[in-house]
Amino acid sequence: MLALFVVFALFAPIITPYDALEQNIDGLLIPPSWMANGSISYLFGTDALGRDLFTRIIYGCRVTLGSAFITVVLAMLVGVSLGAFAGMLRGVRSSVANHLLDALMAIPTLLIAIIIVAILGTGLVNSMWAITLALIPQFVHHTRSFVRGEMKKEYIIASKLDGASKWQLFVHSILPNMTEMLVVQGTLALSIAVIDISALGFLNLGAQSPLPELGVILADGLDVTYLAPWNVAVPGMAVFFMVLSINIVGDGLRSALRKRVSY
């Protein structure tokens, strides 16, 4: 199912029958095709401006999933390098930095997003910054404890004795072992990022209408909830299934990993 979403995201322009912003003034609020007076040419119906909901959802998946993915990759890059650095550090400086980081990790994403929006204004890119910022500490934390743990193991000590520098140590010895942890953390972060991006869109703090972002589509649909409930139901479903599929994949990865570690 995740693959389906990825396909949606990658090939949105090919799959979709219409343009995401195209308004069809003769067809406002057409019900989805499975309802009595729906039309097959609009699979999920249309919204209050006559835009094809199916198209918007597909583009929405693209925007939401895509930006979430970029966010996670960014956060991962920054987080891992910081975390590795922190993990290799010793002494008071590291302890202070670590403690502070842990405490700051507790600041809710929404709060960071609000502050960033206040400084830079609303927009998808700004909300992505906010979420990146909020995700970084997690990666730092996990990388640091991982590096810490690894540093104590024999093979590291062995290569240390071989005279490897810290950088070599990290790139050649620790990083390869870390990929699994990163993948698991990455999927976890991805599901959080998807929820957060759509939540910010929904709250009108992130992506702005008419950009087809799932949260924004949902918020737009809210105005016509009673008249056209599918405008709320479908985008919500899309976010839900997207997150669900990411979580299931993540869960699967994690238990596979655990099994390998324990046996």
Partner: protein, 343 residues
Amino acid sequence: MTQILVRYCTLLILTLLVLTIISFSLAYLFPGDVLENLTGLVPQNDIQRAALEKQFKLDQSYVHQFVYYVSNLLTGEWGYSFTSGLPLREEVGIAMPATIELATYAMLMALFIGIPLGYYAGIRCYSTSDYAINSASITIYSFPVFWFALLLILIFSLQLDVAPLSGRISLLYHIEPVSGFILIDILLADTENKSLALKDALSHLALPTFAIGAIATASMARMARRSVIDVKHRPYIAAAISRGLSSWQIFFRHILRNALLPILPLMAIQITTLITNAMIVETLFSWPGIGNWLIQAIYQRDYPALRIGMMAVSTVVITLTILVDLFNRVIDPSREKYERAAV
């Protein structure tokens, strides 16, 4: 012990200091006038402006300004809101308890439902009931909270008409805020309609608590299950089995406590998620809490409010997090600092 306390106190103070620095610099980072952002007062003319600048030491170095800012924070002079013109301390004082109340009930729900469920699933791991609980929890866990809350509103408020959808209590009641917790306030207030008011407040609480609580419960259950499974694979359990202890004995003597320990630090992370979710759900249920207040503030670009709101929320969250960590250290000194179980 004292050492640990001192350590955590320093940590707390240090973090709060960093937060204060951030919130102070926000006055400069936000668009608009620094003086207005810092005080929430809009000077009507140049004379007033000069006087205010002098008062807030804006004519002196950043360090002086900052020191003055901190002393103001400590004495409760938090500035004024742009939009309402009210002292921010008063506004936060009303909004903050509302959020904490909501989050507390949701947390209790997660603790009393999520953990037992997780234990049950963990003990019966890889059975049908485990699968059922596990898939239910992953499903609920995947719900975007804003949509979940919307669904609840659509079903329970609009279709079934069993619960109201906005606010803490019907506006017809006059409840003097004493503690800020609506249920306690009702008990303290002397109105003749106490039981009515209580019932009304409970029905207002039901849906938002459930919306936040369900998601927290799901992740709690997942953590508990994971933790129990981990503990079950430990050698001492095998030893206990070989000693011939019954499964109940094993559960009560070994699993119960040992599985709980790794969950506790996770609760610290949960607090953050919980507060974030509470903030989102508040806007949907028009709950007069800090999240709703902050989001209104950002819509209206009320910079002083944002600055203080950010300060207040993160202070609460961080204090709670550190307390949980401290608690965890105290009851289980053997653990390495900050070691946390996986979700």
